[in-house]
Symmetry: C2
Subunit: 417 residues, 2 copies
């Protein structure tokens, strides 16, 4: 007997038929003797419809009202799934965020979960093996008594938070793909599904994983050590391989201790939504970095890769990346302090891509970066900037080389299936 | 300055444009210096969609889950209206049933309101003239913490209950007609709008009024003496006549003391959904009525008109009406106890209509019934049964004569415009 959280996204609950299919997935786990809490998203398309109504009503709509409106989507699917389960003879009831409660801060539209009270869920596991069907993506700001939402994709975070609260053995994220891949299979057909990924790796693979799992849910899973399993909701719920004791197809995101032998490189990620900014001929004196980056922080612009060249003739060049959406604002923020910083020109490019090589095995292996630089150089790909962490090497290159670079690195590190 | 509750039904909030129109109605009252609480229904069609999803998921769906699902409709419109009001510069926030709370019993799907806490609404009137936008039709069963709904048309009841809780001067029911008429204008084009109707009359006019106002909301208005004003939401919110101090077009449902001179007859109502049951040659002895009606009560069948003929040869005939939907069940319930009661035959008819003549003035006027009987007789309309109360005379006739009878009585009592 295990205690499971099962999370189903919008495409998995898109209509009544699919909700009944989800109920069969839940029944399989109940029949196997497990205790189950389910977290559901809104029917796909429903949240967009609700958001459009808010926007049509007022350009500057009130965030708490937006939350009250948008939270209704998950409310409906949680009720429908509870009905479907009861119709199969399984004890079940729905829970809205305010009912458990799932307590959040008051950052309406992108609230953070402060705590989840799972006591009643666990009590009902014991009392009548009742399945808790929880509306994802939502919570309550208790001091004001108002409904909050966690922001797009927040249902993953809800699921992990519930799993932590009830000390679940595993949090199963059912989605429209069957796991996490070494890279995007649309670019590299030879990409293969990973059986296990360490929390830290998954965080770095955010740009890959975003389609599969929200970054914040991975952070929360890492902090609370919630074993999170990404699997497909579009398989037959009663397929024989899902009823055996063995591991079903999918990717387990877990503590690295659970990964017996780590690959040096686990995957290749890429992000197209960063832009490059370079400021030329900055006087090289102490405090210059602060002069450049404080105005950007004040403007709430996230800076990612930072490269500063060696000084020449008392001047230096500084290159960094920002989200493409903030590119113009970043240039404007720096132009406003040009005389204070004393640089000569600002240059920039949006047709760039950040390619990342990720793997916890990197920590104990030398020469990983060198192999990447050599391979890219042999293909004539120019590296504009480099940044590294303990388990990641990122390079900024021209966007035109994205596919070539990803395929090259995927092959170089032996990831091809 | 007055304190108002404004209630808008599904057709009045059917889409974003109409919700903005509702906001203009609210702004007019705020500009006039009034304190305003608004109660809204779901967008028209939305509740039906949600109910259909429940039914598609399971034939026997769980009532508490149904309530959680269906309540989402009003949640959305209350949020959107709050957004529209704020966009016009009016302080406003939405309230779901569980937030005030509107406390109900646990009869999910047709819950009764136990109490409404209006303290916070009133406090915010004082603090910042904030408009309370309340999701109608829903409440919370506090012991279980679960969402309840009041049953179809329950938003009228929510509005009256809120008006009672905050001691509103008036509860304005905005709807798709501009008031209560002396009879159905589709049958009698000369029907005229009533300026004032007493609570007791409105209750009796339920079959007329059902299209305008739920019976339960009238009962609650009567008990708490909530002056309830039925008016149109499809007028221009900024029409000059709505901005004058005079009474806007509509019908006020109020205490009879407020009606200076009552008409003898206020209106002619009719109900097509009753069926006639007659049991022939029942032995006429004490307790026979109980023998007949206890089995019907046990079967939860409402009996309306009851007529017992004068005994002949120790036997009598008993005629009564039941809702058409219960007709077959009523006959079966009686057939089951035929030997105990000892009657000869059961007869029945569903092609009948109950016509009612209603007016509080009737109490102090003689001969009202006689005029009806004479007029119907002159048109060759046979009366199958009669029942009367202090302020109402009802006759049961063949359904084929519905229009003729209604027009005749409307004219006889001087109601034609």
């Amino acid at each position: 007997m295990a205690r499971l959280v099962m999370k189903f996204g919008g495409t998995s609950v898109a209509n009544v038929e699919r909700i009944k299919n989800v109920a069969r997935h839940v029944k399989r786990e109940i029949d196997a003797g497990h205790e189950v809490a389910v977290v559901v998203s809104a029917m796909s398309g429903k949240t967009n419809e609700l958001v459009a109504w808010c926007r049509d009503t007022a350009v500057l709509y009130d965030a708490p009202e937006y939350d009250a409106i948008v939270a209704s989507g998950e409310q409906v699917t949680s009720g429908l799934l509870a009905i479907a389960l009861r119709d199969m003879g399984i004890a079940a009831r729905s829970w809205q965020g305010w009912q458990l409660p799932i307590s959040t801060d008051d950052a309406h539209g992108s609230a953070r979960i402060l705590s989840v009270n799972g006591d009643e869920i666990v009590r009902r596991f014991g009392a009548g093996r009742e399945v808790a069907v929880i509306a994802g993506f939502q919570g309550i700001h208790e001091p004001s008594g108002r409904v909050t939402t966690l922001g797009r994709g927040g249902s993953d975070t809800s699921a992990v938070a519930v799993a932590a609260a009830i000390r679940a053995d595993r949090c199963d994220i059912y989605t429209d793909v069957d796991g996490v891949y070494t890279t995007d299979p649309r670019i590299v057909p030879k990409a293969k599904r990973l059986d296990k990924v360490a929390f830290e790796e998954m965080l770095e693979m955010a740009s890959l994983g975003a389609k599969v799992l929200q970054v914040r849910s991975v952070e929360m899973a890492m902090v609370h050590k919630v074993r999170t399993f990404v699997r497909s909701s579009f398989t037959d719920p009663d397929a024989p391989e899902l009823k055996t004791a063995g591991d079903p197809p999918g990717t387990l995101i877990c503590d690295e201790e659970e990964i017996v032998e780590s690959e040096v490189v686990t995957g290749i990620a890429f992000a197209r939504d960063e832009a490059q900014v370079s400021i030329r001929r900055v006087p090289d004196k102490p405090g210059i970095a602060a002069n450049v980056f404080v105005p950007l922080a004040d403007a709430n612009i996230n800076v990612d890769m930072i490269v500063q060249n060696i000084s020449a003739e008392g001047h230096t060049d500084i290159t960094f990346t920002v989200p493409t959406a903030d590119f113009e604002r970043a240039k404007a923020a720096l132009a406003a302090v040009k005389s204070e910083i004393g640089f000569e020109t600002i240059e920039g490019a949006t047709d760039v891509v950040k390619i990342s090589i990720i793997g916890i095995g990197m920590r104990s292996h030398a020469g990983v970066a060198a192999r990447a630089f050599k391979a890219l150089s042999e293909r004539g790909i120019n590296i504009r900037a480099i940044s590294t962490s303990e388990i990641k090497i990122s390079v900024l290159i021209d966007a035109a080389y994205t596919e070539l670079a990803v395929r090259t690195l995927h092959s170089v590190y032996g990831l091809d299936a």
